[in-house]
Amino acid sequence: MSFPHGSDLETTTRLSRHQGEAEARTLEGWRARGGYEALRRSLEMSPAEITEVVKASGLRGRGGAGFPTGLKWSFMPKDDGKPHYLCCNADESEPGAFKDREVIRWTPHLLIEGCLIASRAIGAEHAYIYVRGEFFEETQVLNAAVVEAYDNGLAGDGILGSSWSCDVTIHAGAGAYIAGEETGLMNSLMGNRAEPWAKPPFPAQAGAFGMPTTVNNVETLAAVPMILENGADWYRQWGSEESPGTKLWSCSGHLVRPGNYEFALGLPLSDIIFDACGGTPSGKPVKAVIPGGSSTAFLTGDELDCATTYEGLAEAGSALGTASPIVMDEDTDIVAAMRRIAQFYAHESCGQCVQCREGTSWVVRILQRIEAGDGRPADIDTLYELCEQMTGRTICVLADSVVFPLQSSLDKFRADYEARMKPTLVAAG
């Protein structure tokens, strides 16, 4: 287990402040830390008031897309007489990201509390927590907390003695990255293959079981109780206007101190990599960083001064994504790294869209031959062409997810690719 981390950089542990404390896993321990007070408060508020606070806080979805959470909640219909559902996306599967796992295994009651408050805000009668199947040990911790919540009037009928009821169900995935896409998740929950569907219909119109549904990430929901307790202004003391609050950072790759950290949004990326994580174990310069999980664009070692906000990383030509920098030192074989990333997306493509199904596997085959030294002179152009054909033409963004790192690696590390090309035969004069 990984807490606490030694770090020279000031961390702002709010959401993660009880991670690493085994007692926080039990209801008794959680209550001793002020747990479920935000839920109690939410019961005295109207759903619209809860949504308003979250909207004012500027909290953005932590699953990668960064959509404003309060706004998403406000899309849910009111008084439509239909059952509403909340889906908590705990299918953490973006290579590089491992932050939700820590929330689940250390502070399961925080997640349950967040789910309940969100359910109240959107009028949901049932919250489904979709946890990736591989997280069995983490799910055991969460299961115990859910049963405890039921046994103590915190889930099910008449929560905390009120007239409000909401069920919570743990639903395990079974190995499919695409189940982390919101419509894929809902399809999987319904007993289908986790194939995304084209929107509309949007989840708030017709989501799980054809009913209005909101899908929120674990970290997003875990941020809700503290926002409700302390208010929107409190949350806005950190970060920028467009990216308020604190954020969990999953740092991996060539680092002296890899692991999870929580920082106020907006620090320079280089501070996180060098001060918090101690730079590279080899002591060699950083060659590349993929800042937001494997589906975001490469930055070079010279581009790390950017601010770690949604807008800051977008300006730098990449994305905050899941805030999961994967760091590569000078000796890294970029072609091999890119091939490995592409292999993942080819494996996880659900196969509905030709551009993705065929495109991802062609990318892998071309990268494999370049890596093996059998590349052909036209291969780089072909890869660029594939990037163009795979962008914005599919039901979901899985195909785009391989384009971001691929295209940026071609732009920024072209020499690495060219160095692996088969020497061209020159006709003897």
């Binding site: 990984s2 059952p83 953490e92 599967s93 973006e94 290579p95 590089g96 990201a97 491992f98 939700d100 796992r101 990736r132 199947g133 591989e134 997280f135 069995f136 040990e137 799910t139 055991q140 969460l142 299961n143 859910v146 049963v147 039921y150 889930a155 069920d167 919570v168 169900t169 743990i170 639903h171 395990a172 995935g173 079974a174 190995g175 499919a176 990255y177 999987s188 929950l189 319904m190 007993g191 289908n192 293959r193 986790a194 079981f209 999953s250 991996s252 790759g253 060539h254 890899p258 692991g259 993929i290 494997s294 994967i326 590569m328 890294t332 091999a336 790294a337 490995r340 990333i341 993942f344």
Partner: protein, 186 residues
């Protein structure tokens, strides 16, 4: 076959046969099978939504899902066997073939790749004397390459049955294999 479970958590079970003996025979005729099915059906507005939980349950008591099990699940949920097959084959964690007593999955995705994951994988194959995906002659091991296990800061990550081993280096592999073989903590 008489373990009871809270309906709220019926959708989550071990994916490998770790803590129990393999059960043979019709699952939904047992007391535990009936209880699980009933519990799952109580949590969703449709019968079909109980499919993943029930496939998971079958695997947790049988270790893998064979065609006859898919037929049984299909009958219990009013689905066609072909549909259940299409689901079981979509999700990678359902074992469509038996696996060794210790199912070793080595993540080789990007963060692990940067931390010698391929060497860890090859070391596991060498120490267990297997090729990827096959069961060792003594029935103890199956080793496969896995996609991201979601613990990238602890590379290389290896999942043995339902348990994660973190920060695995090639040098640690012989000891892990020896301990597993001897029935000890890896």
């Amino acid at each position: 076959m008489s373990r009871r479970i809270h309906p709220a958590v019926v959708g989550a079970q071990p994916f490998q046969l770790t803590a129990r003996e393999r059960f043979d025979g019709p699952i939904f005729e047992t007391e535990e099978g009936k209880h699980r099915l009933e519990a799952a059906l109580s949590r969703y507005p449709t019968k079909q939504a109980a499919l993943l939980p029930m496939l998971g349950f079958v695997q947790s008591v049988k270790g893998w899902i064979e065609p006859a099990d898919m037929v049984e699940v299909a009958e219990a949920l009013d689905l066609t066997p072909a549909y259940v097959h299409s689901i079981a084959t979509f999700y990678t964690m359902y074992n469509k073939h038996p696996v060794g007593r210790h199912f070793v999955q080595v993540c080789t995705n990007i963060s692990c790749h940067l931390n010698r994951a391929e060497e860890v994988l090859h070391r596991f194959l060498a120490e267990t004397g297997t090729r990827e995906g096959e069961i060792s002659d003594d029935g103890e091991f199956t080793v496969i390459e896995a996609e991201c296990l979601g613990a990238c800061g602890f590379a290389t990550v290896v999942q043995v049955n339902d348990r994660y081993l973190e920060d695995v280096t090639p040098d640690r592999v012989p000891g892990i294999v020896e301990n597993l073989r001897g029935g000890r903590d890896p």
